[in-house]
């Protein structure tokens, strides 16, 4: 059994250089002064990775640290907390949850303590509430995580449109977006380094997943790409120093879906036909294509058939 585990660990170490080791030590990169990112892996959440697949991290000011997404499990949240303590003496004042997906917020409970404020989109609490029963069941069944409602932690501060946070000598601007990747997406802009933390509004390498609105996402991207940022941090994939170029592949994929599905709807074809046929030529461009492409078509089809 032990032997098997260590072979597996070695296998992981070769395949996934950025993932944490078994001792729950978190691999972090300082991508800009005071901006730390743990890069996740392109994998479906499962019992082996416990859903620890997303990019998470934190930004350090003179008085406060802001955590941006807490990870896919309470253990990963604790590992992130420990890594912060290792890097700085500045305390965590804020946990920013970029959206409702479990791979980004199941680490929340690690930061629930006096002095830490949880911040999210105005629709985050509702999204947590309606999804929790299903997500909790799935965490037990698919991830091997025994979680409770308390592990979600709704925001005590919400963002309606924008919110500025002063970390001490460093200002973060949080923007609440319209339905896009989900209906509760937040992005974070760090003035000091001109870093735009897009979380799951930007996928690089990992197929974009639509759980909000296809047309809404394209609309938000057209605004986001106008931002003069030096660094772009995706929710999945490597940090990029080329903004807005980093959004090109994602934009191309979403535009392709929109135009092809619109054509299917116009021709009176069904959702089933669209799911079987649309956009298959993009398969080679993305990882996890077979895991998410058809669901993207289904959700987009249901959205676009109400356009006229």
């Amino acid at each position: 059994m032990f032997e098997k585990l260590s072979i597996f660990a070695a296998f992981l170490a070769i395949l996934m250089p950025f993932t944490q080791s078994k001792a729950e030590q978190l691999n972090l990169q300082e991508v800009a002064p005071g901006v730390f990112v743990h890069q996740g892996i392109h994998a479906m959440p499962n019992r082996q990775n416990h859903g620890e697949i997303a990019n998470i991290g934190f930004i350090v000011g003179e008085q406060c640290v802001a955590v941006i997404d807490t990870g896919g499990s309470p253990a990963q949240g604790r590992a992130l907390d420990a890594a912060i303590t290792e890097k700085t003496k500045v305390p965590v004042c804020y946990v920013i949850n970029t959206h409702v997906h479990p791979d980004h917020l199941y680490g929340n409970s690690a930061f629930k303590r006096a002095g830490v404020s949880f911040i999210g989109h105005r629709k985050l609490a509702q999204a947590m509430a309606v999804r929790a029963p299903y997500y909790l069941e799935k965490a037990g069944r698919d991830l091997g995580l025994g979680l409770k409602q308390e592990d979600f932690i709704a925001p005590d501060r919400t963002v309606d449109s924008t919110l500025e946070l002063d970390l001490g000598g460093r200002k973060l601007t949080l923007t609440a977006h319209g339905p896009a990747h989900t209906d509760n997406d937040l992005t974070v802009f760090d003035d000091k380094t001109r870093t735009l933390w897009l979380s799951d509004l930007l996928f690089i390498g990992h197929l974009p997943v639509i759980d909000g609105s296809l047309t809404g996402w394209l609309r938000e991207l057209s605004k986001l790409t106008k931002i003069d940022a030096k660094l772009a941090i995706p929710g999945h994939g490597p940090v990029s120093s080329e903004w807005p170029k980093a959004a090109e592949a994602e934009t191309r994929y979403l535009e392709m879906l929109r135009s092809e599905i619109r054509a299917y709807i116009k021709q009176g074809k069904t959702m089933e036909q669209a799911m079987a046929e649309v956009g298959q030529s993009a398969r080679g461009d993305w990882q996890l294509f077979d895991d998410f492409h058809k669901r993207n078509i289904a959700t987009s089809f249901a959205e676009l058939e109400w356009e006229d």
Partner: protein, 270 residues
């Protein structure tokens, strides 16, 4: 796992036991049906499982558990002497297993129905047809809700709420063909939410709000009617047949569990 394999291997040598093993293995998936649901919905009536009356198409993997396309195809035409009266859809392991019951008439032409359903779990879905002679027959299909971050909820509930009650019919082409079954699709915008009682996370109360009745008629004659429940996707969608004898009006009347009523008519011409 290993034990199962051994048992199977053993059974392979003894044909009689192989059959017993299949019955046993299927027992888990069918437990809710055998122990509770069958009796609840159909009492002690016998149900044929030969698959001679209808066919059920559902994906093995639910790509988006909020929007799973499911269709039932009739294997016999609707005639005045012999027709499918009702097709009931049950999703065994959903919080509310009853998904919908669709009622047809000889004028439906074909008792085919396609819709989009929510799946909360790994579960069987079953379609039970009742013919006008009162006989029941059932087909089933196993569906696995997929992994990833999706949930069986609508992606953009506010958009569905904003256009609630909006409907449209989509025909196969612009014109209808007279005196033969024509396929049409009814789209209904409705958030279709299951609601929650005093949720611990958000401290919000949200009452359930979903479509529970659908009636479609052509020139006043019923074509399709249905009782529906929370398993219907956000923005419910139905594909079915009707047989027009002349130009006329397709009419949809929809009610929800909060007593709201919506209606819509659309003129169709040959």
């Amino acid at each position: 796992m290993k034990k199962d394999l051994n048992i199977s291997a053993f059974c392979l040598m003894i044909a009689g036991l192989l059959f017993a093993n299949i019955t046993l293995a299927a027992g888990d998936e069918d437990a809710a049906w055998n122990n509770v649901l069958k009796k609840q919905f159909f009492g002690d009536r016998s149900i044929d499982e030969s698959g001679a009356t209808i066919e059920l198409t559902a994906p093995y993997r639910a790509e988006d558990p909020a929007l799973v396309p499911v269709s039932v195809t009739a294997k016999l035409p609707q005639t005045t002497s012999n027709y499918i009266k009702t097709i009931t859809l049950i999703i065994d392991n959903n919080p509310v297993p009853f998904a919908a019951a669709f009622h047809f008439t000889p004028e439906s032409g074909k008792a085919d129905i396609a819709t989009r359903l929510r799946f909360n779990a790994y579960t069987n879905i079953r379609a039970i047809a009742e013919t006008n002679d009162g006989k029941l027959s059932m087909v089933k299909s196993f569906v696995k809700a997929s992994g990833g971050c999706s949930a069986p909820i609508g992606a953009d509930l506010d958009a569905a709420m904003a256009r609630m009650g909006k409907m449209k019919f989509k025909l196969d082409g612009d014109k209808i063909a007279l005196n033969q079954p024509n396929q049409t699709q009814l789209l209904v915008s409705h958030p279709s939410i299951s609601g929650m009682q005093m949720d611990q996370i958000s401290r919000m109360v949200k009452p359930a709000h979903f479509v529970n009745q659908v009636k479609v008629s052509f020139n006043g004659k019923p074509v399709l009617s249905a009782e529906t429940d929370i398993a219907l996707s956000t923005d419910p969608n139905f594909r079915f047949y009707f047989v027009p004898d002349k130009a006329g009006e397709l009419k949809a009347e929809v009610k929800d569990n909060q007593g709201k009523e919506f209606s819509y008519t659309q003129a169709v011409t040959p």
